[in-house]
């Protein structure tokens, strides 16, 4: 991730590993606390969540660092502690189970800064990488014969890989409008459905966006990349859940219904547009869409909410919410008719054949555009830090006071980048719907390709949280973390009021992905945040040196996963072995109570840039 391949020079503490380790106390079954003093100037403690399967990665990294005398990569624990020393931070700096070393902030680090504290800062970083999930009414059985065709169609429709360019014609004026309007632009132009907006964090638009705060260089990069997947750990995937047969006649049995909910086709594609604002060129890796099957339902009640109730038979409405959206027109490449797929559904032995397409887009957020916005901000902020003589533990933690002109300009530019990321994800959703429509000769509307949710992974947002028993306005930085708001929070869509916000966790190529839900406990302890993915276990360079891309592709083929790859040699960077075990990461979050397991998914097709 951001700057991970760049060694940093850091003032060594002169302590041994054992001495460093004394600052870190286990305070719960899966929770550790880093006491002030671990690094200079800590204003609050830092805390991180890992279980016994993951903790060695954290401590080995620290041990390696102390042995090297403080040179080389700064370990994640040191970075978390450094964040705890930033002005205006409240409560604690939080490391999530997928936490690993990043640029300044560690990836998987959450910190909140008091908006009413004039000293409080904002720090730039990746902007609005994210994941979105779209469901379909297809079953795994329906998809199986078309799997290769579908993977190819997705590959053809969504330009992938380093330097890819989108197929949506966009002028500079239109780009400005998109930056300002976010998903409202997609909606206006017909690339998105009204329900997409309803099911997106922030309704797909940050209102403080001001395109004037964005450099023309960034815009130039952004214009041609709209609707492209990108590379790096950006990928799209489809996940399908395995359906169970219904025995005999229809029974009104909750358990039976729930298990049927587990039987939906889901496809996950992850897109995040903003690589890291470092000197590393953006998109050095590979992007991959995947098709997965649902493996396990952990919370049937909540799972049913994300599937059946929101598609054909909404829990709230009674009748299906069929909206004669103009946007649909553009999607219908092939005239609507009773296609094979629909017939097979009708004759199916299964109860309620309902599918889900999950688009998971990780580094496909704001792409070159977002990278440029963050880089521009970083340069400005580094200048400001040296002018104001702000003492920072790590020069990578460049930041500016929230209220300062630079801080405000960054927030406006960041909002533009976030809007661009949503437009990009919406565009890819449009293209995915088109790909499905082509393969199944059926309008996306008839495939019920509704979006379940869209979560952001890297963004700073103003939110209200309780601090010392009173509500405070905080600027919550989530670097490689997902917002996970609890049930009945006013900012989550009406469907999820009783389940909590869906949290979409993309795994890696060939591994599971997850849907979790937010909890009240998470809202209290982690500012309503949870993990965002597997988290790197080894750096990209390390992966390139030690893994062979052919082995990885063969391993995927053995699992009966369809693969489309634009840059095979970059596959090893994103190989499952380069990452932590996503199941362990998710299990830790579940155990810590900061989010709840809901649905486990397994890939059946992968598309990488």
């Amino acid at each position: 991730m951001l700057g991970e391949d760049q060694p940093t020079h850091y003032q060594p503490s002169g302590r041994t590993f054992a001495q460093e380790r004394e600052f870190i106390t286990k305070i719960g079954p899966v929770q550790y606390e880093i006491a002030p003093g671990f690094v200079p100037n800590m204003r609050v403690p830092a805390t991180f969540y890992v279980n016994s399967q993951l903790d060695h990665l954290i401590f080995e990294e620290l041990e390696h660092f102390t042995r090297s005398g403080g040179f080389g990569f700064l370990p994640a624990v040191k970075q978390m502690a450094n964040v705890a020393s930033l002005p205006g931070i409240v409560k604690r700096s939080i490391g999530l189970p997928d936490c690993h070393a990043g640029y300044g902030f560690s990836i998987g680090n959450v910190a909140a800064f008091d908006m009413d504290d004039p000293e409080a800062i904002v720090s730039p970083g990746d902007i609005n990488c994210g994941v979105r999930v779209i469901r379909t009414n297809l079953s795994e059985q329906d998809v199986a014969p078309h799997k290769e065709e579908l993977a190819q169609a997705l590959f053809d429709h969504i330009p992938v890989g380093v330097g890819s360019q989108g197929i949506i014609p966009t002028s500079m004026d239109e780009l400005d409008a998109a930056l300002e309007l976010g998903m409202d632009w997609s909606l206006r132009e017909g690339y998105a459905w009204p329900e997409d907006k309803e099911h997106c964090e922030e309704y797909g638009r940050m209102l403080q966006a001001d395109p004037r705060a964005v450099s023309s260089r960034a815009k130039k990069r952004g214009r041609t990349q709209m609707g492209t997947l990108g590379a790096g750990n950006h990928y799209a995937e489809c996940v399908v859940c395995v359906r169970r047969r219904r025995d005999g006649a229809l029974e009104v049995d909750n358990r039976l219904q729930m298990s049927v909910f587990a039987c939906r086709v889901t496809a996950i594609t992850g897109f995040s547009l903003f690589p890291h604002p470092t000197s590393r060129s953006w998109g050095g890796g590979v992007s991959s869409p995947q098709i997965q099957v649902v493996d396990e339902i952990c919370n049937p009640a909540a799972a049913s909410h994300m599937g059946i109730e929101f598609t054909g038979q909404p829990t709230m409405g009674g009748e299906r919410l069929h909206i004669p959206s103009a946007a649909c027109r553009g999607y219908v490449i092939i005239p609507q008719r009773d296609c094979l797929c629909m017939n097979s559904l009708r004759n199916s032995n299964f109860l309620d054949p309902l599918g889900v397409v999950m688009l998971h887009k990780r580094d496909l957020g704001s792409r070159g555009f977002g990278h440029q916005v963050a880089t521009d901000a970083l340069i400005e902020m580094e200048k400001a830090v040296s002018e104001e003589k702000t003492v920072l533990n790590d020069k990578q933690l460049a930041c500016a006071k929230i209220g300062s002109p630079i801080g405000q300009a960054y927030l406006k530019g960041m909002s533009c980048a976030a809007n661009y990321a949503w437009v990009n994800r919406s565009t890819m959703t449009f293209l995915t719907r088109q790909a499905f429509a082509k393969v199944f000769t059926c309008a996306p509307d008839d495939l019920d390709m509704q979006m379940i949710y869209d979560t952001s992974h890297n963004i700073a947002k103003v939110e209200e949280h309780m601090v010392d028993g009173r509500p405070h306005r905080l600027l919550v930085h989530r670097k490689g973390a997902t917002r996970a708001f609890p049930p009945h929070h006013p900012l989550i869509p009406v469907e999820y009021q009783c389940t909590g916000q869906p949290v979409l966790i993309g795994g890696t190529m060939g591994t599971n992905s997850w849907i979790l839900t937010g909890t009240e406990q998470g809202f209290d302890t982690t500012f309503g945040s949870t993990c965002h993915g597997a988290g790197r276990a080894r750096s990209r360079n390390n992966s390139r040196r030690n893994l062979d891309h052919r082995d990885i592709l063969e391993a995927l083929a053995r699992q009966n996963i369809s693969i489309r790859v634009a840059s095979p040699k970059l596959v090893m960077e994103e190989a499952p072995d380069s990452y932590k075990d996503v199941n362990a990461v998710v299990e830790t979050c579940h155990q810590a109570g900061i989010s709840r397991k809901c649905v486990k998914l397994r890939p059946i097709a992968v598309i990488k840039g």
Partner: protein, 251 residues
């Protein structure tokens, strides 16, 4: 309930056992109202009320003369007894008040300080919420908090005629029908989905969960209206286009 209160205000002597559907009760009341409170006709013209035969016709004419705003009541008062009586009682109260306004206002003013002293222990937030609740139920409010609470209780009791257990079950069925998903309602009420409120009192928790359901439904309807509105606008603006020649995969 409404009639009883008005009768009490007027200090009607035959309050006990008054029944609006009983002709003799009605006759007695109307005669009493005209004789002692309204006094619209001179005494010698009140004869029509004394005879049973033409009593309804007399009442009809009486209402016309009084300029009763409810035309349908005037033409056939016998079919609209509660409304007619309620209006007559209100008229009587209004006249009574006009006759004794000065005295009544003075009495009310004397009571006010006592009421506000009592209110001091009540937070303004609570009062505000109570007043908006009372407004919802169309209950006028003065400074008397206790009285207002009692009125609210009475008003709610009017609507809720079932014991709590039966009410919960009925509401449950009703909502299940409303949501077309028994499972959703079940899940919420049994705690598989969170209602967000746990008090330890089952009845209270059920009530809270039911309120949640109603609120969510209302929210859903509103969101659907917004979505429909956006879809309508899209008809005018949407023109998605794709140019495959612009596409470029990889380097």
């Amino acid at each position: 309930m409404d009639l009883q209160r008005k009768l009490r205000v007027l200090e009607y002597p035959a309050l006990e056992g008054f029944n609006v559907t009983d002709f003799s009760c009605l006759q007695l009341l109307v005669n009493w109202l005209e004789d002692s409170k309204i006094r619209f006709y001179p005494i010698d013209q009140r004869g029509g009320f004394k005879t049973e035969d033409k009593w309804w016709d007399t009442l009809s004419k009486y209402l016309t003369d009084l300029e009763c705003p409810h035309a349908h009541c005037i033409s056939a008062p016998q079919d609209h007894c509660p409304e007619v009586i309620s209006w007559l009682l209100s008229t009587a109260i209004s006249l009574e008040y006009n006759d004794n306004a000065a005295e009544l206002n003075a009495r009310s003013a004397a009571n006010t300080p006592a009421a506000s002293a009592e209110d001091e222990s009540i937070s303004p937030g609570f009062l505000e919420a109570l007043h908006s609740f009372a407004d919802l139920l169309h209950i006028p409010h003065t400074g008397d908090v206790l009285g207002l609470l009692q009125s609210i209780k009475t008003e709610i009791a009017r609507h809720v005629e079932l014991p709590p257990e039966r009410l919960a079950r009925t509401a449950h069925l009703h909502l299940a029908e409303l949501y077309k998903s028994k499972a959703f309602v079940e899940n919420l009420l049994t705690g598989k989905l969170e209602s967000g409120i746990r008090t330890g009192d089952t009845h209270l928790d059920t009530a809270a969960a039911l309120l949640r359901l109603l609120y969510i439904r209302q929210l859903r309807e509103q969101q659907t209206r917004v979505n429909n509105c956006l879809a309508t606008l899209q008809d005018a603006t949407a023109q998605p286009k794709v140019d495959a020649s612009l596409g470029k995969v990889g380097y």
